[in-house]
């Protein structure tokens, strides 16, 4: 459904390019959008399960109108945190390597030099 009034979608001002190949900027935006839509779908499934457990009618109106209270939000926050840790694992992995290197004051090249010396 198209809304009667369309809002402006891009902010005025050049968008920074973060990677040498602009395609990488686009692919990252798409990947994050997909992660978001996956989380939306997961919350929708969670809603259906909770309505079923409560013996309430599982209609589209009931699902669309469901806004979680605090207890459910806390559970969903925890699920999303785990989900994001999984999705962004590759970044975390680099961070762990950096933390180790920062702690040892040793870079990988330094380690190679060390064992080769």
């Amino acid at each position: 459904m198209t809304a009667a009034v369309q809002l402006q979608k891009k902010a005025q001002g050049d968008r920074p390019q973060y990677f040498d190949d602009p395609a990488i900027d686009k692919v990252l935006a798409i990947a994050l959008a997909l992660a978001g839509e996956t989380a939306v779908m997961r919350d929708r499934m969670d809603t259906i399960e909770r309505l079923l457990e409560a013996g309430q009618p599982v209609t589209r109106a009931a699902i669309d109108g469901y806004i979680p209270g605090e207890a459910v939000r806390v559970e969903r926050d925890a699920w999303r945190e785990e989900f994001l840790a999984n999705v962004l694992r590759i970044v975390q992995q680099e961070r762990e390597g950096l933390a180790r290197a920062a702690g040892l004051d040793l870079r990988y090249d330094d380690a190679v030099a060390l064992v080769e010396s």
Binding site: A35, I63, L88, R95
Partner: protein
């Protein structure tokens, strides 16, 4: 199973529902919650890796090239310019900002006619709304859309538009990850706490909030000084229409008008207290001085002007200053960096005030609940996480 769909939520972990706040469907709400989680994950799990990248890779490379480790903010910036971890985090952070606006635009677009109708038909308003369609929008607002809100505070997409007010109200909650409280009022509440501690006998009769947007920082002044007359001005009509509807829905009396803080139509010596909350960094070097000269005209003797912001870079370690400066180049905040070099005494002296009465101070966040999930640092992409605001201003001698 005790969940009641669409129940009114008054917890400290949700934005307070009020009469003009757009109501999301469950999917729309989930999309917004994802952005909040993503931003929190970036602030707590990914962003701290930048310091490790500096220590492990960027600083040694800088030291090798320059003969000394990075010492200043400029050194850190130079060291981190091509650091791939920083680049990737920056790209993630920028995306989270764009996703935030998208997630709030979807329900606003869907409900816009209803929101406009509600804002048009306020009955028995105790406050007021005075718009000036001829008011020029400052160039520093038209040049780029600040913090990537498409259309900024001022663009109107239909008659009597409230869209960007509605987008902003919800986005501020997501941007701060709820850490400014259920009404997004932490900066106002914190500024009030500072004023009451610093000037215990001060009792303003008339208060002006500059660049008030949707009034989330303005409304606390109604409760802090119940007998005071509270005014809010902004250059953006959509945020003011929304602010008026929001204030009335929350039972607060505020007089909103569309004016530029650099030059208002209020009489001389009209106000006892003039405040702004994260306004200054969205202006310019010229504008902030004009705003202060105008404040000098508008304040009665003994009156006070206070601006709330994040800390100047000179107060921060080089790395923290570098991270706080991220917004300047990555979040459409062109004056962010330069505004973090302002000195209260300098500006006071330049704008007619006595610099001896200028002040700079840190005030702990008034919203200090555990639910605030502070990171306790000032850094880009972690707004409201530090648990304190930097306040500067000056008092006019009595």
């Amino acid at each position: 199973m005790t969940e009641i769909p669409n129940s009114i939520d008054t917890s400290l972990t949700a934005q307070l529902t009020h009469g003009i706040l757009p109501q999301p469907t469950s999917d729309e709400f989930a999309r917004q919650e994802f952005v909040k989680s993503l931003k929190y994950h970036l602030a707590t799990q990914i962003s701290p890796g930048n310091k490790e990248a500096l220590a492990a890779r960027a600083a040694p490379a800088f030291a090798k090239a320059k003969g000394h480790p990075p010492e200043t903010m400029e050194d850190v910036r130079s060291a981190m310019r091509d650091e791939p971890y920083f680049t990737f985090w920056s790209a993630l952070q920028r995306n989270s900002q764009e996703m935030m606006w998208k997630s709030v635009q979807i329900p606003v677009e869907r409900q816009l006619p209803e929101l406009i109708s509600r804002a048009r038909t306020i009955e028995d308003a105790s406050g007021s709304l005075d718009l000036d369609p001829a008011l020029p929008i400052p160039t520093y607002h038209r040049a780029v859309d600040i913090h990537c809100l498409p259309g900024g505070y001022h663009s109107e997409f239909t008659a009597d538009d409230v869209a960007n007010g509605a987008c902003y109200d919800r986005a501020v909650y997501l941007y701060a990850m709820g850490r400014m409280g259920p009404l997004n009022s932490d900066i106002g509440d914190t500024t009030i706490a500072f004023i009451k501690e610093r000037f215990p006998d001060f009792a303003p009769a008339r208060i002006l909030d500059l660049g008030c947007t949707v009034g989330h920082s303005t409304l606390p002044y109604c409760d802090a000084w119940p007998d005071a007359e509270v005014h809010g001005i902004d250059v953006g009509a959509p945020v003011l229409r929304y602010a008026h509807a929001r204030a009335e829905a929350l039972g607060k009396t505020v007089h909103f008008s569309q004016q530029n803080a650099e030059q208002t139509n209020f009489p001389d010596a009209h106000f006892d207290l003039i405040v702004s909350h994260i306004l200054v960094h969205e202006t310019s070097n010229k504008a902030v001085r004009k705003i202060m000269r105008e404040a000098h005209r508008l304040l009665r003797p003994g009156g006070i002007v206070v601006h709330a912001e994040t800390p100047p870079y000179r107060d921060l370690p080089a790395y923290d200053a570098f991270m706080l400066d991220w917004d300047t180049r990555n979040n459409n905040e062109p004056f962010w960096g330069a505004s973090h070099g302002l000195k209260a005494t300098d500006i006071a002296a330049e704008t007619g005030f006595d610099p001896a009465h200028a002040f700079e101070a840190y005030q702990p966040s008034a919203f200090d609940a555990a639910q605030a999930r502070r990171t306790a640092v000032f850094q880009g992409g972690d707004f409201g996480g530090a648990g304190a605001w930097w306040l500067w201003g000056v008092r006019k001698p009595a």
